[in-house]
């Protein structure tokens, strides 16, 4: 008699749940999603050690991707191979986006001195009055990333703007503020 190892048993179980789920069994699909979430958590956790929030974000993103693309599953395919394919794609996509986020300070266009000088000036001025001059999107982007200390990603998620849009809004908004503080005139 063939000895089945744990991975085979898990595959058999997940496969059965997926087949039942795709034929309309909501409970089976729910169990499948929970088990998949556990698998994904350990998959991403091993690769992003210590970044629990990112790991949970990725787990959720991958579950949504799995759900949206469930029609691409076919019964002859091992479920774990299919799930792994999706998880790997989401991880690569995340790392690519993450790399961009890390590069934000470089792309932002302000050099060290400028930023420090801006900080010193900012401390002496009425921030709220200055911000009132900008568009609401610029205000939100600057407030979240520069005053409250969120990352560009988090700010993008909170405001519903895309990450490039947050960067652009911060950049334009700060540029406008600098111009106003220095010259007193509007400059765009």
């Amino acid at each position: 008699m063939k000895q089945y190892d744990k991975a085979d048993l898990l595959e058999a179980k997940l496969h059965a749940l997926m087949v039942a789920g795709m034929s309309g069994h909501s409970g089976a699909y729910r169990t499948l999603l929970s088990l998949s979430a556990d698998r994904l958590r350990s998959y991403f956790g091993r690769r992003l050690a210590g970044r629990d929030f990112d790991v949970e974000d990725l787990v959720q993103e991958t579950l949504i991707a799995l759900h949206r693309k469930r029609a691409t599953y076919e019964q002859s395919l091992p479920f774990t191979a299919w799930l792994h394919g999706i998880a790997r794609y989401r991880l690569i996509d995340f790392l690519r986006r993450d790399k961009r986020a890390v590069e934000v300070p470089v792309e932002d266009g302000f050099d060290e001195d400028e930023t420090d000088a801006f900080g010193a000036m900012l401390a002496q001025l009425d921030v709220e009055a200055l911000l009132a001059d900008l568009t609401p999107k610029q205000v939100a982007a600057i407030r979240l990333t520069r005053i409250e200390g969120y990352s560009v990603r988090e700010a993008a998620a909170m405001t519903g703007q895309s990450e490039p849009a947050v960067k652009v809004n911060v950049h334009r908004g700060l540029g406008r503020l600098m111009a106003r503080i220095k010259g007193g005139d509007d400059a765009d």
Binding site: G21, M22, S23, G24, H25, S26, G27, A28, Y29, R30, L33, S34, A37, E56, V59, Q60, L63, I64, A65, H67, R68, K69, R70, A71, T72, Y73, E74, L77, P78, T80, A81, W82, L83, H84, G85, I86, R88, Y89, D93
Partner: protein, 211 residues
Amino acid sequence: MRTDDLIADLAESPVATARPSLRIVGAMLGGWLVALVALLLVLGAPLASLSQTGMLPFGVKSGFAIAFLAASVSAAIAAGRPGKKLSLRLALIAVPFLALLALMTLELSSTPRGNWGGLFFGTTYMSCIAAITLASLPVLVSTLWAYREMAPTRPALAGLLAGLSSGAAAAVAYALYCPETTASFLLAAYTPAALAPAVAGWLLGPRLLRW
């Protein structure tokens, strides 16, 4: 949102209504019909050259194009399913070309060296390449559109295969018109013509097929 809540939400609609592979085949058929109508308008009635060439060259041409189409569509659809093994399907695409290669060897060995140019370039080389490349465009558009339902983990490869399928579909349509008779010509003209939409798909895939 907590993950458990998300799972509860998603679990409410387990059944997938989409049929992505059927949709791709349907979209390709639609694009192919557009290409066929365009060829009808530009080149007139199909199969007109059949009386000069005879059945055999037409059979070889159509057989090659249909086998090429089947292999590339099968690989393209597999590339849209995560976890699916591709190597065998990719290798199968080579089979119709290997068959042409064998026929080409026969043709070359029975033709004096001075006439080899005619074997490869026939009399309609450029118009054949132009016709297949242009006819592949509507197929490429509809295929890429339908392909967004799939989940390609390698979007560039998926785009390339979708493009190759479009080129093969265009070759099937143009085979109804092609007055050439040699396998050498098929290899020399149909191959680059089908590669053009493949390169386009390869470039477009990473932009259009991300998910």
